[in-house]
């Protein structure tokens, strides 16, 4: 929301230019360009298989790209410049870059052998060097924020899907990320549990967190997005304000996709 009121000349938090990605022969991303301003909430829509997840995974270099470049917070992801030449970063170098990016997965991916609290404090203590006390205090605040204070000692298996996903969001927030990536966070949930997760995400959007959200929840896109991107076949087909892209789509493929949600 604050993205609209940013001063002129503010640098985008995420810059993607001409991103190409193939798996063997299959070209999945065919030249993606996208800027995300600090505080902006971008929702990516598109049919299954259009490359949305792959694009998200390229942003934190879970997948490497074959052409183009991606920059987050002024750093080119996966590479550094040495003696005027672009050099691949080591695994540990990439690990460092990822530490300011939070990610929430479709399948939650909580650590099943750890309690909710242990899940949340793992990265802050182990990677970000916080003290156990600070990490625990912060984790309890985050659990309060997602409405799960009572579940701190529970194991993931003892929670409903919606509760697990809210823990996963708290876990990602615990590293104080500059950017949050959500890959279909509600797609694995029973319909009656979708609302609680979307409500949590709307809160985060209001608080000015920069978010890129892949979802099929058109309602969420209308309400919370600053910008909606429609992807199809590895291309960005249409991009703009939600009222334009969703309310008045220009491209026939966007129209066809959205017509299924009416």
């Amino acid at each position: 929301m604050s993205a609209n009121t940013l001063p002129e000349g503010t640098r985008p938090l995420v810059r993607a230019r001409n991103v190409h990605k193939s798996f063997d022969q299959l070209e999945v991303l065919k030249g993606i360009d996208m800027d995300v301003m600090p505080g902006e909430v971008v929702v990516i829509l598109g049919p299954s298989g259009s490359g949305k997840s792959t694009f998200l995974r390229c942003i934190n270099h879970l997948e490497s790209i074959q052409q183009g470049f991606i920059e987050v917070d002024g750093e080119q992801i996966g590479y550094k410049i040495r003696k005027d030449r672009l050099e691949k970063l080591s695994a540990n170098g990439i690990a460092k870059q990822r530490r300011k990016i939070g990610m929430v997965f479709q399948q939650f991916n909580l650590y099943p052998h750890m309690t909710v609290l242990q899940n949340i404090i793992e990265a802050p203590i182990g990677i970000h060097g916080q003290s156990r006390k600070d990490a625990t205090d912060n984790a309890m605040q985050l659990l309060e924020r997602v409405g799960l204070s009572a579940k701190a000692g529970a194991y993931p298996r003892q929670l409903s899907g919606g509760q697990q996903q809210r823990v996963a969001i708290a876990r990602a927030l615990a590293i104080k990320p500059k950017l949050m990536l959500f890959d279909e966070p509600t797609s694995a949930l029973d319909p009656e549990l979708v609302g609680e997760v979307l409500a949590t995400m709307r809160d985060l959007a209001k608080q000015g967190l920069t978010m890129i959200v892949v979802t099929h929840e058109i309602g969420f896109a209308k309400e919370a997005a600053d910008r909606v991107v429609f992807m199809d076949g590895g291309h960005v087909v249409e991009m703009g304000k939600p009222e334009d892209v969703i309310g008045n789509p220009q491209h026939p493929r966007t129209q066809a996709f959205l017509s299924r949600f009416l």
């Binding site: 991916n109 052998h113 609290l117 990677i127 003892q158």
Partner: protein, 311 residues
């Protein structure tokens, strides 16, 4: 429609159609009882025969059970088991990780290691290590095809003890590598990816996220390995290592009480493996604690959670 509703809502006491399962009892099974009696009878008879068979010579068994030679042999067997197992697990972990790595050199070396040490009999490996000096009279460090940096006389390095440890550990490492590799592969791929997305290094992800989850499938076969290992230590008696079997052999070689002395060893082996079985079931319960539903979820107290998180 309305009749159906009233029927299903009828109280259990409302007729012969509904009998609360609380009142159910198990039927009496005569066949099972007879089977139990027969089995117990046969077992009792067998014990009776064994106890009164002079060939077993139970008094001798009792007399030598805590004999100092036997006890020191027992310590050697236990020591070899512990050292061989620890080295085997550590090397097995390294080899399993090497086998799973993208690096061709590492995975190739790991495959070769496993192929060789699983593919040859342990007895042969032990004799081979013991006789290393006939192949390589001196062992040391040198630059390949170049000068030697440091070396030792093989016979001074390879004692029965070191030959036994090296033989048992390398053999165990090959088996443990396969067990650990299977365990690591059993963990959901999404876990490694999540750790990666959070910026964990590979080593930390393995240690904190993957290995603890792999333990559930690693512990049971490792328990088997440990029990095999205890028995495998009896092979070292061929290279004159004074383990439990070697000590009872050394006694019956002069007293000729072969069966009772072997019984001493058998009972000790059974005692140790029984203790290990109990330890294994505790370990298994520990590593499946997150599987259990109920209990912890019902406890809302964050204090309890903090306590849990701090160990």
């Amino acid at each position: 429609m309305s009749t159906a509703t009233t029927t299903t809502n009828a109280p259990p006491s409302g007729g012969a159609d509904f009998r609360d399962v609380v009142t159910a009892h198990a039927p009496f099974r005569t066949g099972r009882l007879v089977l139990w009696l027969v089995v117990l009878l046969v077992a009792a008879d067998f014990i009776w025969i064994c106890a009164h068979n002079d060939g077993f010579d139970w008094p001798v068994v009792g007399q030598y059970f805590f004999n100092p030679t036997v006890i020191s042999g027992l310590y050697v067997s236990l020591g070899l088991t512990v050292v061989g197992m620890i080295l085997g697990i550590v090397m097995g972990l390294v080899i399993a990780i090497a086998r799973l790595s993208q690096d061709r050199l590492a995975s190739g070396f790991a495959s070769l290691f496993i192929w060789f040490f699983r593919g040859t009999p342990l007895l042969v490996q032990l004799i081979f290590w013991y006789n290393l000096s006939t192949l390589f009279p001196r062992i040391g460090l040198s630059i390949p095809f170049g000068p030697t940096l440091i070396d030792w006389d093989t016979n001074s390095v390879i004692t029965p003890m070191t030959a036994a440890i090296v033989g048992l550990a390398l053999n165990e490492a090959a088996y443990m590598a396969e067990i650990i590799r299977a365990g690591l592969l059993s963990v959901d791929r999404g876990q490694a990816e999540t750790a990666e997305a959070f910026g964990m290094t590979r080593a930390r992800a393995l240690w904190r996220i993957i290995i603890p989850q792999a333990m559930r499938s690693i512990v049971p076969p490792t328990g088997n390995q440990l029990i095999s290992m205890i028995k495998a230590t009896s092979l070292v008696s061929v290279i004159a290592m004074a383990d439990l079997l070697y000590s009872v052999q050394s006694i019956y070689n002069s007293t000729f009480q072969i069966v009772p002395m072997l019984l001493v060893a058998v009972i000790w082996y059974l005692l140790i493996t029984s203790v290990l079985n109990i330890g294994q079931s505790y370990l298994e319960a520990y590593y499946s604690r997150s599987e259990r539903r109920g209990a912890t979820a019902a406890h809302p107290a964050p204090a309890a959670a903090i306590e849990e998180a701090s160990h």
